[in-house]
Symmetry: D2
Subunit: 299 residues, 4 copies
């Protein structure tokens, strides 16, 4: 029999994830501070609760999707928090993208009460959430990951077990730092080719099939007109915004400082995205970094 | 009937390329300044010539594979150079990796004499050359590219027409700058994950399947033990050496200066490879850049 | 009448600072966990105490000089900490170099008890401490700074009031980030001149008198042989070590992340110092960064 | 008796330099392609010539001040160039800022004809030129430098002998690369302090007196309102423009590539100035780079 689920946090990402679970036949109790979000979920078939604790009472699984570490900490560890409300058979899944330290601290507190918890941040964006095409990167105990896998399969196309508690956050942070580097480097390479008279579509095609191939180049080309469905061909309407990339690069830089690892390209990408955001492009798609780097006529 | 070919330059790359043409049934006349290289080619079935001009007399195609722009300029434009020796039906193919300006200058001089010329640098390294698995990036007139395609098919697995004369060099330069960025960025991401306690193979597998996927991560992992056949698992024996990457990054930086394009990650990658080379690793595989960036215990 | 002082922390910096106060006629009670340090101070004329709290009882001023933020927090805020031991007329001066947040938190706790506190980190190193030539950068209330000024004058040559609590730490952090940039940039400029055949002393002299003039160039030249008394002329024996610079750059990067400021050159300098430390140079003088950047013969 | 001088190139810099020589009593024959510039010089007391060669006939000294290397090469080495027009007692002084290679090539050609030549680029900008306050960085033979010194003393406040032919250009290139780093680094440090609540004037004063002291901070503060006479306090009206700094950083990067020296901070500064120029600030003062780096509210 399908499990009963509490879903906390019905924002741009949470709402479509919850909808996909409802459509797959799961019984959902939902909570969010925004009334309109609650009403939409009820219209889709969910049951509303008056608080997160009320939503989590008497369910098999809690899924949370919140903006930042402090919200996650409040939800689970605050006074009247979920750790006091749920019983020991409940599985907690936090899909928020936050720093690994907070994930580990909350999971550790859950563990002390005998409650299983996973950190399971996603990539794929709003479109991936709507289409059930997310990628989950999961930290926690293997058997708990397996228990959650049917839910991940409904909301996403693949779920990776990255390691112990917090490892999901680390995997996403490293992946997205690399993505920021890929997008910036791809932009530099295409700009340089165009400045030398090459057709951006032709050089992109060559590099895709050579050792320059990478996700940004292959499926998300930053040069306008090369790919019809890429944000670059639609005025850099996101997609994945500059300020979200800046947040992820900040998480990675923070971890690189704490761990004493040199990440020169990651640092540089963060500086460039910070400059680009400050210039007013925080809401544009992150592939618009190519415009910051384009040829300079006065050079 | 198979064309008669002159092959000039039988180094680490040129020799196996020539051998593959011989094995495919082409009649080759060869020249190199190194006697031993000539003798090896003769043993493989080539006919030796006493000079480049002698080799190029009375053939259908000339292929050259030389270390630097000044050698290419000497070969074709020097006194007694090939442009004076060949007749107008001969097709010239220069596969050396050099700056685009020199390629354009030589092709232009050839054009003035009515001789067709292509710049066709390769990627794939010595192993690719031996296995006939090279990628050709070709600049020149489309019909000349098509005439040369059967030869590219013997020596490589694919040939891309990048644009007019010099465009092959530009495509390779941009691709390899991007490759240097991919390798350095991938190294940073894996180092950061490992410093956070993740298994390098697990996080690599996750990023390959997410938006961090790129050539360096997918087929040339820089972390020891993740891929059996990668140089990282064999003491960083090249493969593609640090100093070759440094040369290619230098060509890209030079072009970025001349064209007024900002390439901050490319510049940074070049600085890091220069530092790595100076520390004594010029002959190691270029994936060894990960060691320069690894966690610093005293940080 | 001269004030009675408790001095906590008699390390490489604290010991000579305490000695200068003793020589100036102040009555010092001292505490350190290392017995030998205590004995040396007693030999110099100090009175020893069995605990920090015992040292701080019945004095007019407490001065602390500790390695990291957690030590400062323990000393003042821990159970049995100084804030419980001192009376409201005592002035607290913490000269440790730590993050501004911790300084603000401790000063705030002191304020709630009605106790005046200053953060007063120093620059000038061990030699400056011995010679009474330190520079103090002070955060706190102006009248408290004036009360402490006679003590700063004994231990140092100048004391700047940077602003409210924590501002001393911020000023030092920004100054030292800039110093790391100055030393690295000066090294790049001299290396480039030498690679072009110029005499390092001649080009240094020219830049000092032109718009390239800066502290690293003017008084701490990183090229061997240019300045007799610089660490560069003595095998890069510190002076100010690579790992201390790395620590300060880390504090600055952490603050740049928290405040959303782009510090690309500071980030780059930190990456270079991390690489240099990892290569085994953590204990060398920070001017040895020039060796990391020197010309690369294989380039 | 005062020497007779030909002055070639009466632009923003050349015109006031020529005027200062006239006011000091030298007889000047002048040439420029712009008629208005010639007329102004005649009004100031110069004699006009119809060509550079005509100006240089029968003088003791030729001074040239031109925009780029190709102009200098044309002037001296072109057909009908000055090297054919002057006799062996004439001293040639080129004050243009160009690449060292061109300077060396022209000086070498002059030397073969027995004509003495100096490269003598300046720093100090238009204001320095007007006030006779330029700094000359001179390459060539020592006795020729001494012969020219009275002229340098009229046009500037100091002249440094940097070494053999071309060394003047190298010294200026290295100095200005360092200046670009100083300005960017100083901007980062002040921004970081302000983001932490410090007063920009206070932290600037502290760093000036500590180890952060440097030319940009000491006499050209990039933060508005700290120094009354700095461009930052006048809407970043130059002063020394962004595009001029970009040109000088480009010369330095080109040399760093040719000489295989790693200049990571110089490269980064060039990327940042290229981005700043492209964003429309090429004509602003180079201290406006601080705006590119300021705190980002959305970070």
């Amino acid at each position: 029999m399908a499990e009963k689920i509490a879903f906390i946090g019905l924002g741009n990402m949470g709402a479509p994830m919850a909808n996909n679970l409802i459509e797959a036949g799961y019984a959902l109790t939902v909570f969010d501070l925004v009334q309109e979000a609650l009403e939409d979920a009820v219209a889709a078939g969910a049951q509303r609760a008056d608080s997160a604790a009320a939503a989590a009472a008497d369910v098999d699984v809690v899924i949370s999707m919140l903006p930042a570490g402090r919200h996650v900490e409040d939800l689970y560890l605050g006074s009247g928090g979920l750790l006091e409300a749920v019983d020991q058979t409940t599985l907690l899944i936090d899909s928020s993208t936050i720093d690994a330290e907070t994930s580990r601290r909350v999971a550790s507190a859950a563990g002390k009460r005998g409650v299983a918890m996973l950190d399971a941040p996603v990539s794929g964006g709003v479109n991936g959430a709507k289409a059930g095409g997310l990628t989950f990167m999961v930290g926690g105990v293997a058997e708990h990951v397996e228990r959650a896998r049917p839910l991940f399969d409904v909301m996403g196309k693949v779920a990776f077990h990255a390691g112990a508690a917090g490892a999901g956050q680390v995997a996403k942070m490293c992946n997205n730092m690399l993505l920021g580097i890929l997008m910036t480097g791809t932009s530099e390479a295409i700009n340089l080719a165009v400045a030398n008279g090459l057709d951006p579509a032709v050089v992109s095609d060559i590099m895709k099939n050579a050792s320059g191939g990478n996700w940004a180049l292959n499926v998300y080309n930053p040069y306008p007109g090369v790919m019809d469905n890429a944000p670059a061909s639609h005025g850099y309407k996101p997609g994945f915004g500059v300020d979200l990339m800046l947040k992820d690069l900040g998480l990675a830089m923070d971890s690189s400082l704490k761990n004493g690892v040199a990440t020169p390209l990651g640092s540089m990408a963060r500086s460039l995205y910070a400059v680009h955001s400050r210039a007013g492009h925080g809401g544009d798609d992150f592939s618009s970094i190519i415009n910051l780097l384009k040829g300079c006529p006065s050079d």
